[in-house]
Amino acid sequence: MTWDIALILSVDGLAGAAIYLLAGLGLVLVFSVTRVIFVPFGDIAVFSALTLAYLEAQRFPPTIGLVAVLAGLTVAKEVVTLIRRGQFRELPRAVLGWGILPMVPCLPAFLLAGRELPALVAIGLALILVVPIVPLLARLVFHPISHASTLVLLIAALVLHFLLSGLGLLFFGPEGFRTQPFLNGMVELLPGFRVSLQVLLMVGTSLALAALFFLAFERTLVGKALRATAVNRVGAQLVGIRPATTATLTYTVVSLLAGFVGILIAPSTTMYYDSGLIIGLKAFVAAIIGGLSSYPLTALGAIAVGMLESFASFWNGAMKDVIVFSLLIPALLVRSHFSNHSDDGSDEEEV
């Protein structure tokens, strides 16, 4: 391997790291606020990528139907629950919040889809279409068992992935898509070393979003509420932070992050309905390096995963996934070694 190749591989690795950074941040956020290990993150990214591909091909994005179905189910479930409890006054709010609000992003998409759209408009539509998906799913799947053990939540998350890849196949079909790159051309960073603008854009967007994420957490009240819930759920509840609300907020942020991941990855990788698991799990390796709690360490983990993947694919393309997932075991061992050994009681979980 020459230095040139190493440099090229490093750039590829950074592009990958940009993806895993965003996904890793999302996973850490969900876990710290809700204790859900959100395996289906990649599936949502796939939905946004495929939505963009449909919009670019001037086809009607099936995402609208998907959101409508999910919103319908959620409203039905909420209404039944409220009626059973006799809380009729809450009904309009539930219908508005779970039925009408999620459908709002569908309206512009419904009106604009099918014609030729400027790239930015298409991207914007794809992003807002995906945003309602995770909060709706979480309300349906995780909310009723939000007090169950982490393991039950993990099983549910894993099953949700299979549900989503099934839905993906049903709504988007089996063919793979690759979207248009936003920027063409290369830029010469060092003499004789050129990087594609697309990669720079990926890394730049990812860093900008990560910075935004950081600021929102450190500087806004909502961000502080999320952090408070992450540190101590009961304590946060005592000072008036509602866990259900923070959960919904978290899932909305995560939905948006997943949307960005899908948009960023779609021009460089052909996306199929079932590409999500691998993306999500690689981000997991990064998140676990961060102990599912530290954002800076997750960023480091993302770089490690991106680099390893890039160099591994040079060495043996077919085995690159094997190599990346194998990193999980040493990462877990190191993590487990440094985390406090209070396994007594914490294992006492009724599944």
Partner: protein, 595 residues
């Protein structure tokens, strides 16, 4: 009719029903039964590992695959009989499980199941990328099983082999669960401290269980390779592992019969959906995946105890494990006992023991000695560091500095388990019982280190003599605390005071040299306290050394030879109870300055 007979009749009916399956149904249904049998083998292992011991695995299909590929490769490459492929497949799988388990089973909480996703995903990827295993196209034309010249090509002929194996494995699991190791397995969930306190090694138990469940999966894999006669990576993917998990949850996770029920229900429903869905939609396959995931999620929401628990909530038999009528049995030879050290010998010495939790010094330079045959009380106000001191002596916590010695050996850095094995038995301030296990089983846990039979001997039912001796010992200790006749009650149904007594019986079943009791009388009524005091006096006469933390001053003062008083982590006083009563420092600690 007793529950035991009805259980036996039920099993007999199932066996008889299965025996006629190949004569009644067509090939298609019989091969469906074969699939159920193979899945049940995997799920039986999962019930032990995940359901009972709480080690969630999302990767068991990988073990099925390792065995299937191993035997397939051997028989196609070297034309070796599948019967020789069996030990090879089991060996390769067991070795893989040993390596994976040794690497990952120390992980705590959710990290362990996450690691199982990693290898559950990686192993099928490896199958698909190895040239010697035919990459994604797999291995075909695998030899069928044969008996002499008779080749078992049809579903009907494989049926009996599969279901005989299912029966054997189920019997093995049943015997295992009702054994010395089985009790440890059932106690695994809930953490390490209890297991180590009676000398069991939780890592060892989990690892053996992991390998065992992998071997059951390997049996299924070997059967699959030689009945299907074609292997490819798909049937061993993460998705299929989740299906096995689904079957386990459907069956109720903790019951062996649930493994059969779960496999049957899931495969049958899948098959029905396969028939019905094409009638309503052209996207049948996709809808099936969605429907299955939805069903699984609904199950997690509404019936985590499984479908069986829904059905049998009313008919639930109270007794968890059938046991023989013990009074009709011939007398058993009691378990061997340790020789207790002579009275007055130095037994335990604690020198300048200090424990810091970050900034907080919970125990500060505490020293004391205990002689054999003494009963020593450790008292002090709340937060004085008494329980921390006990945890330091028993190895539950590690000392920050200082030195502890037990029976002349330095135990400062010894593990909790090693110290327990030397003869130090304890109870806990916060009662640690396994509430769903019977009183008898909880007490028998204490005698764990006095038996030798491992999982294999237990599974093949070669441990009956030892089991009878352990049970006799447990019954003797239960009688001592006055709970005869309640041996088969679930420990969790007992009042808290009684649960403390059960902990004492469990500690006694370990035949201890030094008995460490953390607030044994809390929650007891007056008469019960008197009975406990009598029991402790008798034990002292027998030569057992006792250390006791207790808040009931009346109880302690009357009982002990010597008192150690702690306050704010330091030793305030040491001497006989009368002197303690008179000591100004002690009074001040308890009553404030005015006293």
């Amino acid at each position: 009719m007793s529950s035991l007979t009805s259980q036996r009749l039920g099993i007999l009916a199932v066996v008889a029903g299965l025996a006629i399956v190949p004569w009644v149904f067509g090939s298609f249904t019989v091969s469906l039964f074969n699939d159920i049998g193979m899945a049940a083998l995997v799920v039986l292992g999962l019930v032990l590992l995940s359901g009972v011991a709480g080690v969630i695995s999302f990767g068991h299909a990988a073990f099925v695959g390792i065995a299937a590929y191993a035997s397939a490769w051997l028989s196609t490459e070297y034309a070796i009989s599948p019967w020789f492929g069996l030990p090879f497949a089991l060996g390769v799988t067991a070795l893989s499980a040993l390596v994976i388990g040794a690497l990952t089973l120390r992980l705590g909480g959710h990290y362990l199941p996450l690691s199982t996703i990693a290898w559950g995903l990686v192993v099928p990827l490896l199958f698909g990328n190895m040239a010697m295993l035919g990459r994604h196209s797999g291995i075909s034309d695998i030899a069928p099983l044969s008996l002499g010249d008779w080749q078992l090509m049809t579903a009907e002929s494989a049926f009996y082999i599969i279901w005989i194996l299912v029966g054997l494995v189920a019997t093995f699991c049943y015997h295992l669960l009702n054994s010395r190791m089985g009790r440890a397995v059932r106690a695994v969930r809930g953490g390490n401290v209890l297991l180590a306190s009676f000398g069991a090694n939780i890592f060892h138990v989990r690892l053996m269980l992991f390998v065992l469940s992998a071997v059951f999966a390997a049996l299924a894999g070997w059967l699959y390779a030689h009945t299907n006669r074609f292997v490819s990576p798909a049937p061993f993917s993460l998705h299929v592992s989740i299906d096995y998990m689904f079957m386990m949850v459907v069956g109720g996770m903790t019951q062996l019969t649930g493994a059969l029920a779960g496999a049957t229900i899931v495969i049958a429903v899948k098959n029905v959906l396969q028939d019905l869905l094409p009638l309503v939609s052209r996207h049948a396959a996709q809808i099936q995946a969605v429907a299955f995931s939805t069903l699984f999620i609904l199950l997690l929401h509404h019936a985590r105890g499984g479908i069986l628990s829904l059905a049998s909530k009313m008919a639930r038999v109270k007794t968890p494990a059938p046991t023989q009528m013990h009074d009709a049995e011939p007398p058993v030879e009691p378990l061997p006992r340790r020789s207790l050290p002579d009275k007055g010998q130095p037994l335990l010495s604690v020198e300048a023991a200090t424990k810091r939790f970050k900034g907080l010094v919970a125990v500060n330079e505490v020293s004391f000695h205990v002689k054999s045959g003494e009963m020593v009380g450790l008292i002090g106000p709340n937060g004085a560091g008494k329980s921390t001191m006990f945890n330091l002596m028993t190895g539950t916590l590690q000392l920050s500095s200082g030195r502890t010695e037990f029976m002349g050996e330095n135990i400062t850095r010894r593990s909790q388990r090693d110290i327990a094995l030397m003869g130090m038995a304890r109870t806990f301030q916060h009662v640690k019982l396994r509430p769903q296990m019977s009183v008898l089983d909880n007490v028998a846990l204490g005698a764990h280190a006095r038996g030798q039979c491992g999982m294999l001997r237990a599974g093949f039912n070669l441990d009956t003599e030892e089991e009878r001796r352990i049970h006799a010992e447990a019954r003797r200790q239960i009688a001592r605390i006055g709970l005869e006749g309640q041996e088969m009650e679930a420990a969790g149904n007992m009042p808290l005071g009684t649960q403390r007594l059960i902990e004492i019986a469990r500690a006694l079943a370990a035949d201890p040299v030094l008995l460490i009791l953390d607030e044994p009388a809390a929650g007891l009524r007056k008469a019960e306290k008197q009975a406990l005091a009598d029991l402790l006096s008798r034990l002292r006469k027998e030569g057992v050394t006792i250390m006791i933390v207790e808040h009931d001053m009346d109880f302690v003062m009357k009982l002990v030879d010597r008192l150690i008083v702690m306050n704010f982590g330091t030793k305030l006083f040491e001497g006989d109870p009368q002197a303690a009563r008179a000591d100004l420092g002690v009074r001040e600690a308890y009553l404030g300055h005015a006293a």
